[in-house]
């Protein structure tokens, strides 16, 4: 087959899947049936486009074909076949989704809010989003999260069954619920990003497949909800963090910390776009969680060197973040910023205040941050202990390599001490 046609179908799959599926769900009122019809439509594209040429609007072509197939299948279905109840939220008369007023309702938004409904388990929200919005297969989603395919298939089936039987509606939430529900959607996209950005397990530091999907989702949300500052904030956060990717690993695959990165290797276009979005996200007062996290990333992005970083500004941003998003991990980052703004002694004191946090016990960064401040204070003995603690809990090979190197340095300092 013509490679350009194959590329066009792959491109339409990546860009238009959510649009085509959401428009088809509107006809079927049933996610499974709609998925089947959309898969058929993409298969048809592979055989039709080489003959008739790639249509000028591939998404519209695919939607027409998928919907026609759906209407066909629904006609052939007897009422007896309908074991699964239709999706809730449709007006029964004409399958027109009934949204609350005031929100422009793109079908994709309805599908996104259904996938990220708080009545679904977080891991199911993520799985459904990747499968239904990004169009990944169950085996692809399973590979991304390093779980067996059967486990992922069961998770997706269970979630779809709950959507149908508990009647989770296919609808954009009303203004009262909207802020919470947008936050839930952003949380899912952020989780996809962080899972990719520092892969929790495995040989590679970054899983670019997940990072790209998160960026794609954030851009889609930005186009669907252009006036939401926290959506702008999340997109900015992803861009500014991902911009550092080229500098995060040295050529030999070892980890380069923010402090040691060659900043000329950062992606300048992503930084410029991210900085524009941060300014917009910060216009709402008080700023939201993702806007603040993006502002923190922006401070790093704007610093010409590590030593020229505005640590006092960072401490101020972390202070704000910890009030709206109290979490031990945020407190940990705040403590590190304090150490860099006011010296290792102050940083160590702030870190030690977090020693009892159960959530941080299995989190290597607390131990590695302590190790770093201890090393700066010349307390090499304790620093070596802390590096050993950090090593014991990290499951990422690249991070482990970095920690081992630091531990070796500390041990060496110890031996050469008088």
């Amino acid at each position: 087959m013509d490679a350009s046609v194959e590329a066009a179908v792959a491109d339409a799959h990546r860009r238009e899947w959510a649009y085509v599926l959401a428009a088809t769900v509107r006809v079927t009122g049933d996610i499974d049936l709609a998925e089947e019809c959309v898969q058929d439509a993409y298969a048809r594209a592979l055989t039709t486009w080489p003959v008739q040429g790639v249509p000028s609007r591939p998404g519209a072509w695919l939607t027409t074909v998928a919907r026609r197939r759906a209407i066909d299948m629904l006609r052939r279905r007897t009422t007896h076949d309908r074991v699964v109840p239709a999706l809730a939220g449709f007006d029964d008369a004409d399958h027109e989704p009934a949204d609350h007023g005031g929100v422009i309702a793109d079908d994709r938004l309805r599908l996104i809010f259904t996938c990220c409904h708080p009545a679904l388990a977080p891991e199911s929200q993520v799985a459904l989003t990747l499968r239904l919005i990004c169009g990944l297969t169950t085996s692809e989603v399973a590979r991304m999260f390093l779980v067996p395919e059967a486990t992922m298939a069961a998770r997706i089936t269970r979630a779809k069954k709950k959507i149908a039987t508990a009647r989770i509606p296919y609808r954009v939430p009303g203004p009262d619920e909207l802020p919470d529900r947008i936050d839930a959607v952003l949380t899912v996209v952020h989780l996809v990003f962080t899972t990719g950005h520092t892969a929790p397990q495995g040989a590679e530091l970054v899983r670019t497949d997940l990072v790209e999907r998160a960026l794609h989702l954030a851009r889609m949300l930005r186009s669907l909800l252009p006036d939401e500052p926290d959506v702008a904030g999340l997109l900015a956060l992803i861009l500014l963090t991902d911009a550092r990717l080229p500098a995060r690993t040295a050529e030999d695959g070892t980890l380069a910390l923010l402090a040691d990165q060659d900043r000329s290797r950062w992606d300048a276009d992503k930084i410029a776009e991210g900085l524009r979005l941060v300014r917009e996200a910060l216009e709402r007062r008080p700023p939201g969680r993702f806007a603040l996290m993006a502002a923190i990333a922006a401070v790093h992005a704007e610093a010409p060197t590590w030593s020229a970083t505005d640590w006092a500004e960072l401490v101020g941003l972390y202070d704000l973040l910890v009030t709206i998003w109290p979490s031990p991990v945020v407190s940990l980052n705040r403590a590190v910023a304090i150490g860099l703004a006011e010296g290792p002694e102050a940083g160590l004191a702030a870190l030690d205040a977090l020693a009892g946090e159960p959530q941080l016990a299995a989190y290597g960064y607390l131990a590695s941050a302590r190790a770093d401040f201890l090393r700066r204070l010349g307390r090499v003995d304790e620093a070596a202990d802390a590096y050993r603690q950090a090593l014991a809990v990290t499951e990422n090979a690249v991070e482990a390599g970095f920690l081992s190197a630091r531990l070796a340095e500390a041990d060496h300092d110890l031996r050469s001490a008088p």
């Binding site: 809730a88 939220g89 409904h117 009545a119 039987t165 508990a166 009647r167 989770i168 509606p169 609808r171 939430p173 619920e177």
Partner: protein, 115 residues
């Protein structure tokens, strides 16, 4: 339209120790809930304490054993329920949020229609 059973769970010891004013506030909450959603409510009751429960389990060979107490011993015991009608889960959740459950919470379960 669908039906949902909303199960109200709470810490019974906290309930026993509740001041009369607190109890009155909770009862008033239920009264207001009943009034506001009269059209959607299909039933509802408060239950006596789980200490009054009797459990009957099948012994697997055609008989049964009877024991004192609730089916599952938990800190937060089932204390009451509402049966309500709603077009979808969001509407059911919005209603359920207004049910007083000061020492616990509520569980929303869709009713399975048997045809």
């Amino acid at each position: 339209m669908a039906e949902y059973l909303v199960l109200i769970y709470g810490d019974e010891s906290a309930m026993d120790e509740a001041a009369p004013a607190e109890m009155a506030k909770m009862m008033e909450g239920h009264r207001q809930f009943g009034q506001k959603y009269a059209a959607a409510l299909r039933g509802g009751n408060a239950l006596q304490a789980s200490a009054t429960a009797t459990t009957i389990r099948s012994d697997g060979v055609g008989g049964s054993t009877i024991t004192d107490g609730a089916f599952a011993e938990t800190k937060e015991a089932l204390g009451g329920y509402y049966l309500l009608e709603a077009p979808d889960l969001d509407v059911a959740i919005a209603m359920a949020k207004e049910i007083p459950a000061p020492n616990g919470g509520v569980e929303v379960r869709p009713i399975r229609p048997i045809d």
